[in-house]
Amino acid sequence: MILILDDTEYLRKRFDIEFLFDDKYKQVCQLIDKKPYSREIMQLAQNLTNFIMVCHHRSIKILKEEGNNSSDEDISKMKENFIRKIDATKIARIEFGRDMHTNFSAKTIDKNLFYANLKYFIDFYILNNMLELKILYYGENYKEIEKMTLIDKVIDEIRSLDISKFKDNRLILDGLKSLFPSTNPFDIIENWRKKEFSKKEIIHIFNENL
């Protein structure tokens, strides 16, 4: 299960998340859209093995139930401990927040972006039984964006190298494989050399086939 903890008021009105209440998505994703009580957090902490991923709001607040004599400081430490426990179990964790800096390595993401890409992310998970965090960060087109990133680097290499050096360049070869998977990259390079293509023409070919 994917767990989402977000205590933002009127979450359903602010973001397009109605799909999370369909049975199909409820089976794979649990949304807690209110401030959790300390007891709930304790239970979640004990049952973390039920979850494959936890996504939580940066400023989630834990409430103290009636009869609970813990100090406010203890309650706020509870949140830190909960996060620490998630990290210790090596469950994937994403922190999102209003205007938060989106950083794939740091696993932080702007809240708008998180909810904009959430459905694609969960759909992929349902279909492939696999978490692909890149979808949350780059959208459902993440593969095209990755390809574009590769080709961008390839084009830089093409500009800086002589065509005679292309066949020795890993990046150029990888780029050709990604665009022309059924053709031998060396043959492609040889073809260019024979036809005396300029760098501009070669770059154009890459763009045309992206």
């Binding site: 008021e9 800096h101 909810y115 087109n141 964006i145 574009m148």
Partner: protein, 580 residues
């Protein structure tokens, strides 16, 4: 090339390019990391103010060696185009984007921020594209043209599509906008703009977009030549955004009141981290409530004090459920004479009407960016606000009168004849409500004559007419014929009982005063005589009496047309009720 600048991240790719293009070191702008839109705004403002840039080169994907390609260069360009802190000429410098891909591929494959839609910038004037090839870049630079200032609106602003982010409440931006716009006409806009709580919202792309569409936003400034006169007036300001510019602004508006201007500091009850939401809203309300019952000449209350719960787009929350409304209700339940101006960022008239119907005196609508008022219109709103404040100050007597009414009710509640006491209480309430609603001279007169009826109620309670046309005072005897002696300025009875169909009300009262209560302040009766005569003059249309003047030419009886007349009569009524 000497005024062409480039944003560089010092990667090998760009270093090589800079060297090939022979861009001088002084023309290289180091790229920075931004954590939010405000930082990007400030950075672009600094860069363009500090450098004499004619053209600027920006890689679309930045940093150029990012693990995943992006379109952040477009966001930087958007911040340049919408930076209202820059002259328009600086905003319109030609921007040359660098990319290995054609525009069609950039748009096809990238997913763009759905609120800012930076990709729209590509289709505006003054934007150029080039590959990283140095010859391409040189050719492109040579072909660029400055967009003319007259084309800014049509060729750039009208082609952009920037929306408010869901995570930033309309309330937040409206607050910052409304505060700044008002500050402009008050003459403190520079000071207010320095406040982090204001500028951080105004530097978001959505706000910038609106600001650039309202060119007078930053450029025009005014000075308030007629500030509100409020020396010794006690003013209370309640707003959940008091910590976000409004208390500073209101303090300036009411600076004449000095320490008598007080506000409830919402910052004490909010989290210190962004977003600054209430952590103890009940505590905030309790502090607001601590002022209930205190003498105040004016209260300004925001209608929605808890926007997180009360400010949801399209959510039809009844206005009576707003925390500000409830607070207004609590203040007025304590004293209907409180003068309250309700302030609101909502333009929904039914919300405002609810507050007015409850008893708020007036309202002030905080400007919202969607309406995009010119500075002249903002000034009109401010002038209206000042007029309303002045009216509230002029009506602060209502507070004292209401308080006195409550004291009188306590006295009457102890009276042995509840029916008689209730009749007086009801009449006091009727007269008060007429006074509260009075807006013109006739209405003030109606309130006056309504209050006067209490004298008749009292007289009727104690008098019975005998068979021989005499008037018996309960438990005392017959009314004597009291007359005024001009020489001694006293009242005396002639030893004769009054016989007649209907003694004048002042005479009946004199009977009670002297014969039943054994009082002897002749001036009291003399004043009451004049007060009753004034009433008679109005009721019977006696213009000669109403327009009577003293030796200096001042009208003697025109106070019946204002609160002064009511207050004079009320002072007597208060005393009379204590005699009962």
């Amino acid at each position: 090339m000497n005024k062409t600048y480039i944003i560089s991240d010092y990667t090998t790719k760009l270093k090589g390019l800079i060297s090939d293009l022979r861009i001088p070191e002084t023309n290289i702008i180091s790229r920075e990391d931004f954590t939010d839109e405000r930082e990007c705004h400030d950075w672009t403002a600094k860069v363009l103010k500090n450098n004499d840039i004619e053209k600027i080169i920006i890689p679309i994907s930045i940093p150029t060696d990012a693990p995943v390609i992006n379109s952040d260069g477009l966001l930087i360009a958007l911040h340049i185009r919408l930076n209202f802190e820059l002259d328009i000429s600086k905003r319109l410098i030609p921007i040359i984007f660098l990319s290995n891909f054609p525009v069609s591929k950039i748009i096809e494959i990238n997913s763009f921020d759905a609120d800012n839609n930076p990709q729209n910038l590509i289709f505006t004037k003054g934007i150029y594209f080039s590959s990283f090839d140095k010859n391409d870049i040189k050719t492109t630079i040579e072909g660029t043209k400055h967009c003319r200032q007259e084309e800014y609106q049509k060729s750039i602003l009208n082609k952009l599509n920037i929306f408010r982010k869901e995570t930033i409440g309309g309330h937040d931006i409206a607050n910052a906008w409304g505060c700044f716009k008002l500050a402009q006409v008050v003459g403190v806009s520079d000071k207010v703009f320095e406040l982090d709580s204001i500028s951080k919202h105004l530097k978001q792309l959505y706000a910038k977009y609106l600001i650039c569409n309202n060119e007078s936003f930053k450029t025009e400034k005014r000075i308030d030549l007629k500030p509100i006169k409020c020396g010794r007036k006690k003013i209370l300001f309640i707003d959940d955004k008091s910590d976000e510019g409004w208390s500073d602004l209101m303090k300036n508006i009411f600076k004449g009141a000095g320490d008598n201007f007080v506000f409830v500091d919402s910052a004490k009850y909010k989290t210190s981290d962004e977003p600054k939401l209430f952590k103890d809203f009940e505590g905030f309300l309790n502090e607001c409530r601590s002022y209930i019952g205190k003498v105040l000449d004016l209260i300004i209350i925001d209608l929605r004090l808890n926007p997180e719960k009360e400010d949801i787009d399209n959510e039809m929350i009844p206005p009576t459920e707003f925390s500000g409304y409830k607070l207004i209700d609590e203040f007025l339940n304590e004293n209907e004479g409180y003068q309250i101006i309700v302030s609101t960022a909502s333009n929904k008239i039914w919300n405002i009407n609810a507050a007015l119907q409850r008893g708020a005196s007036s309202y002030y609508v905080k400007e919202s960016p969607e309406f995009n008022y010119s500075i002249s219109e903002t000034n009109k709103h401010y002038e209206n606000f000042k007029t309303d404040v002045k009216k509230c100050f002029e009506r602060s007597y209502l507070f004292e009168i209401y308080k006195e009414n409550q004291k009188l009710f306590s006295i009457l509640n102890k009276h042995s004849n509840p029916s008689f006491a209730n009749e007086i209480k009801n009449q006091l309430s009727i007269a008060y409500s007429l006074l509260k609603e009075a807006k013109n001279d006739i209405q003030f007169a109606y309130a006056y004559i309504s209050l006067y009826l209490i004298i008749e109620i009292i007289n009727n309670e104690y008098y019975t007419k005998t068979n021989d046309d005499k008037w018996e005072i309960l438990d005392v005897g017959n009314l004597l014929n009291w007359e005024h002696d001009k020489n001694t300025s006293t009242y005396s009875e002639t030893g004769v009982e009054f016989i007649g169909n209907k003694p004048p009300e002042w005479k009946k009262f004199a009977g009670l005063y002297y014969q039943k209560w054994k009082m002897n302040d002749h001036n009291f009766i003399r004043q009451l005589y004049f007060l009753i005569t004034k009433r008679n003059g109005f009721v019977h249309g006696d213009k000669a009496l109403l327009n009577k003047r003293d030796d200096s030419g001042n009208y003697l009886n025109h106070d019946i047309y204002s609160n002064k007349g009511y207050e004079n009569l009320f002072n007597h009524i208060k005393q009379i009720i204590r005699y009962l």
